[in-house]
């Protein structure tokens, strides 16, 4: 379990080696603190544990509880009722209009489109950094070049598209000027296309970093061996590099999928408040103070995201990679 982390794995190796060499045995024993095993790490981990319990675990438990509450226009009514879940899926079973299902289909579509672009693009960028940039300092510099935008505001990165994609924007002017179209394209901004474009813009880095990490761990001799055995570049890629970078791709996919599934800011700004998403549904309920309904939506979203993560982790043992 704890050997999931390399440092714990290192400690385990050291412990295993202890009987073999007296020095290692002494080192292993002296790694225990003088005040007695356990006390110090507990105290050091306490602030972290406290923050996560107070602001992650407890809020999620509260959400689960409130999703069973009733509510009126003005107040929340503690209760145990399935009203919120029933209303969520109203019409779904009777064959009527099921808005929740439609919202999920719309969100899944955005998610699939975003993954379809970010995974190959992130892989290509990571592959270039890992295999084609020879010097370490150049690699670090280029890597930082990709990372810096991550540290700036998402909203600003979204509004930056307005002068490019708007009706009067750079792209439409260029298209009109070149005669490729005879009137401005409307679907460039405030559309599904714009939302996916913004997701790709914001989240490709979340694929690049873990895939790069996986690629850097590949023993270069494996690739030489493949080449010596007569594999073409394409065969090496498909049979050696891709399988070994699967963990990175899976972690990247988990990041992108969870970010997109819960998103409401990007869908709101880039979709011109016209496109449905699960995150927006939650936000809308909260804005109308229908907190139990928002909580029920939130619980279902969490369940769906957890299922998606479970499916992705089945493809790969993510814990071994961290």
């Amino acid at each position: 379990m704890s050997s999931s982390r390399p440092d714990a794995a290192g400690a385990a190796v050291l412990d295993a080696a202890a009987p073999l060499s007296p020095e290692a045995g002494i080192a292993a024993r002296s790694r225990r603190p003088a005040v007695g095993p356990g006390a110090a790490p507990f105290l050091q981990a306490a602030p972290l544990a406290l923050v996560l319990l107070l602001f992650l675990v407890l809020p999620l438990l509260v959400t689960a509880a409130v999703s069973l509450w009733d509510y009126t226009e003005f107040t929340l009514v503690p209760d145990v009722t399935l009203r919120n879940y029933r209303e969520m899926f109203e019409g779904c079973l009777s064959g009527g209009a099921c808005s929740t299902l439609r919202t999920y289909v719309s969100t899944f579509k955005l998610c699939a489109l975003t993954l379809a672009v970010t995974l190959p693009l992130g892989f290509a960028v990571a592959f270039f950094l890992a295999f084609h940039v020879r010097s370490d300092s150049a690699r670090t510099a280029l890597f930082l070049l990709c990372t810096a935008p991550f540290l700036t505001s998402n909203v600003i990165r979204m509004i930056s598209w307005i002068p490019l994609l708007g009706r009067e924007g750079v792209v439409n002017r260029a298209l009109l000027g070149s005669g490729a179209v005879d009137r401005p394209l409307d679907w460039l901004l405030y559309s599904e296309f714009a939302v996916v474009l913004a997701f790709v813009h914001l989240y490709t880095l979340f694929v690049v970093v873990p895939v790069f990490n996986s690629l850097m761990r590949i023993d270069r001799r494996l690739i030489e061996a493949a080449r010596d055995a007569g594999a073409t570049g394409r065969q090496t890629l498909v049979h050696v590099v891709l399988p070994l970078s699967k963990p990175g791709l899976a972690i990247g996919a988990i990041f992108v999928a969870t970010l997109v599934m819960g998103d409401f800011v990007t869908v709101g700004v880039m979709g011109g408040q016209q496109i449905a998403s699960v995150g927006k549904a939650i936000q809308t309920h909260a804005a109308y103070l229908q907190f139990p309904a928002a909580a029920a939506q939130s619980v279902v979203l969490l369940a769906v995201v957890l299922l998606m993560i479970a499916a992705l982790t089945r493809l790969v043992d993510v814990r071994r990679e961290l």
């Binding site: 379990m1 704890s2 999931s4 982390r5 390399p6 440092d7 050291l14 790694r31 225990r32 603190p33 095993p37 050091q44 981990a45 602030p47 972290l48 544990a49 923050v51 996560l52 602001f55 992650l56 809020p59 999620l60 509260v62 409130v66 592959f127 270039f128 950094l129 084609h132 990709c146 810096a148 935008p149 540290l151 700036t152 505001s153 998402n154 909203v155 600003i156 990165r157 509004i159 930056s160 598209w161 002068p163 490019l164 708007g166 009067e168 924007g169 750079v170 813009h201 570049g233 969870t258 599934m261 819960g262 998103d263 800011v265 700004v269 995150g279 939650i282 907190f291 939130s298 969490l302």
Partner: protein, 297 residues
């Protein structure tokens, strides 16, 4: 061999296009923020001026943007300090075995991948229920008078619910960075210090801390910038006071002048300044460490 060269060329082109894609739009609004007074939200440039920055500093077009600016700055600094301290302690704790370490690690990862809207909503609900409880208890006179709970409105705010919401986002990054740092950290240093009779605190203070100090700059950088730009987890959890990104999001639907680009450029400028300061501090920390250790790495 020609295949490899072609792939290098190809992927180099993809990489260059990717970087252009990353930076292009931001550079566009940087340029457009210097529009002349008659200029609009798109090209062409209608003259070149600082008009929109002047408007921004007057606070004319945008309501109360400077108090949001101040709030985000103060919150960012608080998050930065707490993230650095808590992540350092947490990362150090994971160097040894302790009961519940696997569970705690899973919580850290969960904090990163649970949808932000769910975290934000949960914190909002938690504080709402807390407020109701405080009010109810005050009504029946169960709380001491010095708490001043009679006129309690809400415990929600920038430095309560808001701070907690941000920490759930910044701490996982901080902890993962500390993992990467401590993974490469030589155990021999601690062992040597202990063998020389250093107390556990002495080992931490004089052997561990100087070695990890440069990396702590990175944790601080992530702490501040992630908080400064945070929006999804802030959305429900800030109470009355909006942070700068929340105000900006509101402006996206109403803004009709390049003032929003000036504000965007300024916000990006703060992030860029913090990144630059972090690199300078990192270099300084490495230099002083090298001096202190007489040329050792």
């Amino acid at each position: 061999m020609t295949g490899a060269a072609a792939s290098r060329w190809w992927l180099g082109a993809v990489f260059a296009a990717f970087v252009a894609f990353l930076y292009g739009p931001t550079l566009t609004i940087l340029v457009l923020s210097f529009q002349g007074p008659e200029g609009g939200l798109t090209f062409p440039m209608n003259g070149l001026s600082l008009h929109w920055y002047a408007r921004l500093f007057e606070g004319a077009g945008v309501v109360d943007i400077w108090s949001a600016f101040g709030r985000s700055l103060r919150l960012g600094l608080a998050v930065m300090v707490l993230t650095t301290v808590v992540a350092l302690l947490g990362g150090y704790a994971f160097r040894r075995r302790f009961r519940g370490e696997a569970a705690l690690f899973q919580l850290v990862v969960a904090s990163l991948i649970v949808p932000s809207i769910a975290v934000s909503l949960g914190i909002a609900l938690q504080f709402r229920i807390l407020d109701d409880a405080v009010r109810a208890l005050a009504e029946v006179g169960r709380l001491p008078a010095w708490l001043g709970a009679e006129d309690h409105t809400t415990a929600m705010g920038l430095f309560t619910s808001g701070l907690g919401a941000h920490l759930t986002w910044t701490l996982p990054f901080g902890i993962l960075i500390m993992f990467a740092v401590f993974n490469r950290f030589p155990t021999e240093v601690e062992e040597a210090a202990r063998d020389l009779g250093a107390s556990p605190w002495g080992v931490f203070r004089h052997a561990v801390l100087p070695l990890v100090a440069p990396s702590l700059v990175g944790v601080a950088l992530f702490g501040f910038t992630l908080s400064w730009d945070e929006i999804a987890r802030s959305s429900q959890a800030m109470g009355e006071a909006n942070t700068l990104p929340l105000e900006l999001q509101g402006l996206t639907t109403t803004a009709t002048t390049p003032e929003i680009y000036a504000l965007g450029t300024l916000t990006t400028g703060v992030s860029a300044a913090v990144i630059a300061a972090a690199f300078a501090a990192h270099a300084a920390a490495r230099r002083s460490r090298r001096r202190a250790h007489g040329g050792a790495p």
